[in-house]
């Protein structure tokens, strides 16, 4: 059964539509990540689930019951905010215990529950401190503790890690995941950080301009982006997108410089398309390109090159021996790694479906093969 169900949910501010008729069913106990650029409506969607924003149209169900008109506290959700939103005048213990105090629990009960949460989050030595005396990571843990203490069915996280420094972010990410496994509640996390999204999610939802672009497991979304937007947004460095043309035969595309590439299977589409290939899938071959810039990423080097027809193309190369700037290199775009998109609507064009599915299954986890030269 779906823990959270949204049907045709919309939110309008004046004439501006922030969320457009979103249909979403989030599985019970899953870690769901909603990913999108800023202003795509992802936070609004989360806040509608929490009850902090009114729902203009559509229906929200949590645990099967309609929630549109319920107060935030009656929805069984707890929320962790981006800026932690701790009460500055209360100690850590008081902060964590506040929802229980409002609920009217006795002092002894509160103390026991707070101690339990503090133990789980390693906050026990900090219970008497004020939020102002804590580091960012500690504050975040207190905010999580305040959410946990109510034993909610659903955890909502609104960009909880974006105020932390890079190292702490990775650490907290693991901690969030561990916490999720232990508590078994449904978690919904909103972020614009794709790495966070890929690593945390059981179920990834990509949003753009108030709509859901694609959802599925992170691997599915990464391997088969459903639209030009998802292809360009997910993955760092981003997928290479080259304008091309499908020839009359249906199984060959021509790049703008005239290079012909064979597709793994014929497609129905004819004429202009967008050809996509991830930088890690570009291989060595006979396609002439000129190196414009080399970025050393540490583990590998990212090479920005230009094909003969002036189309830019980025690819990975071993960090130890990257090609020099201005050098001529020969590249290959393996047919099985190609993605085709409709340049007008942005939709994915079906291509070699069977073959790519097989490959994705065989690959299993997140193994990234870097093309070597």
């Amino acid at each position: 059964m779906a823990a959270i169900e949204l049907t045709g949910v919309s939110k309008t501010y004046g004439t501006n539509m922030a969320v457009r008729e979103v249909d979403l069913a989030l599985p019970e106990g899953a870690f769901v990540v909603i990913l999108g650029p800023s202003g795509c409506g992802k936070s609004t969607l989360l806040r509608m689930v929490a009850g902090l924003e009114a729902i203009n149209a559509g229906e929200l169900r949590i645990g099967g019951a309609r929630m549109n008109e319920r107060e935030p506290k009656d929805r069984g959700c707890a929320m962790v905010f981006q800026n932690y939103a701790l009460y500055p005048h209360m100690s850590v213990a008081e902060n964590i215990g506040y929802p229980l105090k409002v609920a009217g629990l006795s002092r002894a009960e509160r103390k026991a529950r707070v101690a339990e949460v503090a133990g789980a989050l390693e906050l026990a030595p900090l219970l008497d401190r004020r939020p102002g005396q804590l580091s960012g990571g500690q504050r975040q843990r207190v905010a999580i503790g305040r959410a946990m203490v109510r034993h909610p069915k659903v955890f909502l996280f609104d960009e909880p890690l974006s105020n932390l420094d890079a190292k702490l972010r990775v650490q907290m990410r693991l901690e969030l995941r561990r916490l999720h496994e232990r508590l078994g509640a449904t978690s919904v996390l909103v972020t614009h950080d794709q790495q966070e999204a890929m690593t945390l999610a059981d179920h990834l939802v990509v949003m753009n301009a108030g709509r859901i672009e694609q959802q599925g497991t992170p691997r599915e979304v990464y391997a088969r982006p459903a639209s030009l937007f998802v292809a360009g947004f997910l993955g760092a460095p981003a997928m290479n997108l080259l304008p091309a043309e499908v020839l009359a035969s249906g199984d060959t595309v021509r790049l703008i410089d005239g290079t012909l590439l064979r597709l793994p299977e014929p497609v129905e589409r004819r004429g202009a398309v967008m050809l996509g290939i991830r930088p890690e899938h570009v291989a060595a071959g006979g396609l002439a390109a000129k190196v414009e810039m080399v970025e050393d990423l540490g583990a590998s080097a990212l090479v920005h090159a230009r094909l003969a027809g002036l189309a830019p193309l980025a690819f990975h190369s071993p960090a130890e021996a990257p090609p020099l700037r201005g050098a001529e290199v020969g590249l290959d775009l393996p047919p099985s790694r190609l993605h085709l998109f409709d340049p007008a609507g942005g939709a994915r064009l079906p291509l070699g479906v069977g073959q790519i599915r097989q490959r994705a299954r065989a690959e299993g986890g997140l193994s990234v093969t870097s093309a070597s030269l």
């Binding site: 902090l52 506290k73 929320m79 939103a85 009460y87």
Partner: protein, 304 residues
């Protein structure tokens, strides 16, 4: 602003010094006058050094003005105004900042406009209301013809009457209605992050609960600043207490002090008057000194 200009430094310090002298000289003169006898205080040229009769003059002023009970009255009024003002200002600002309702902007501007209508300007209508606080309702009843109707039916003539003259409510209530406190609180409430409000909502706290558990503790410095301002303001009130109190037992320190000022061909005992003035200055001085640290913090609001 950090600037390093020696001339500016000298100039600003000179200005500060000059203001301090301008403020302190009258106080010093009052103090010197309070230490003289009648002959000394009236001699020309003016004396700059204190004489020996301070305690006698203070004791005489205390006795003559009946200050023991006048101080009680003034303290009740000042504390009443201060507390009433804080509660009213906080609730009004709470409604204006944290709730979105249709008349919000209208109400905000209505409060804002009262800044331009201090008590002195509206003193006549305020007095009329204080004379009978229910008069407006009586007027409505009369205009609607209800008075006549009730009299015809039951034989009872409705004459609503609630006199506030010579009473503590009459002294306190009109002084509570000023906009300054509402503004101070509004400014403070606007610095409260939206997420804190939402966190409280998620935690299940209702509006009043949020006010009591979060806003009241957080606004302690604002409260101290407002309390200081309002206490001094209420203590120093002269015109309104003079109008609304006709019985000597209800008059405040300030009114009583002005009665001590010699008039016509009375004995010009300025030494006693000045001793009384020194006494009247003490409570506000004590409040400012005690609240100073909080007061400054509340106005500059560095702490959140």
């Amino acid at each position: 602003m950090v600037e390093r200009r020696p001339w500016l430094d000298i100039f600003t310090h000179a200005l500060l010094l000059l203001s301090a002298v301008a403020l302190l000289v009258p106080v010093w003169l009052a103090f010197v006058a309070a230490t003289k006898d009648v002959v000394g205080v009236n001699s020309v040229p003016i004396h700059w050094l204190p004489g020996p009769r301070l305690t006698e003059n203070v004791a005489e002023a205390w006795r003559r003005g009946g200050f023991a009970s006048r101080f009680t009255t003034s303290l009740i009024v000042a504390v009443g105004v201060t507390l009433g003002k804080i509660v009213l200002a906080m609730l009004a600002a709470f409604a204006i900042v944290f709730f979105s309702w249709r008349a919000r902007v209208l109400v905000f501007w209505a409060i804002f406009i009262t800044l331009m209508l201090p008590l002195e300007v509206r003193i006549v209508p305020t007095y009329a209301v204080a004379a009978n606080a229910l008069a407006p309702f009586q007027a409505i009843l009369d205009a609607a013809g209800l008075t006549g109707l009730i009299e015809a039916v039951s034989g009872i003539h409705v004459a609503l009457q609630w006199r506030l003259l010579n009473s503590y409510p009459g002294l306190i209530l009109p002084l509570i209605a000023t906009a300054t406190g509402t503004f101070l609180y509004r400014q403070f409430f606007l610095t409260i992050p939206e997420e804190l409000v939402e966190a409280a909502k998620m935690d299940g706290a209702g509006a009043l609960r949020f006010l009591w558990d979060v806003l009241v503790p957080l606004s302690r410095t604002t409260m101290a600043a407002l309390a200081t301002i309002m206490f001094v303001y209420a203590w120093n009130q002269y015109l309104w207490p003079l109008l609304v109190t006709t019985e000597p037992e209800r008059s405040t320190v300030m009114v009583e002090l002005s009665r001590m000022v010699p008039r016509g061909d009375g004995l010009p005992e300025w030494n006693i008057v000045m001793a009384g003035a020194l006494l009247a200055m003490l409570p506000p001085l004590a409040v400012v000194v005690l609240m100073q640290r909080w007061f400054v913090r509340g106005l500059v609001q560095t702490e959140k």
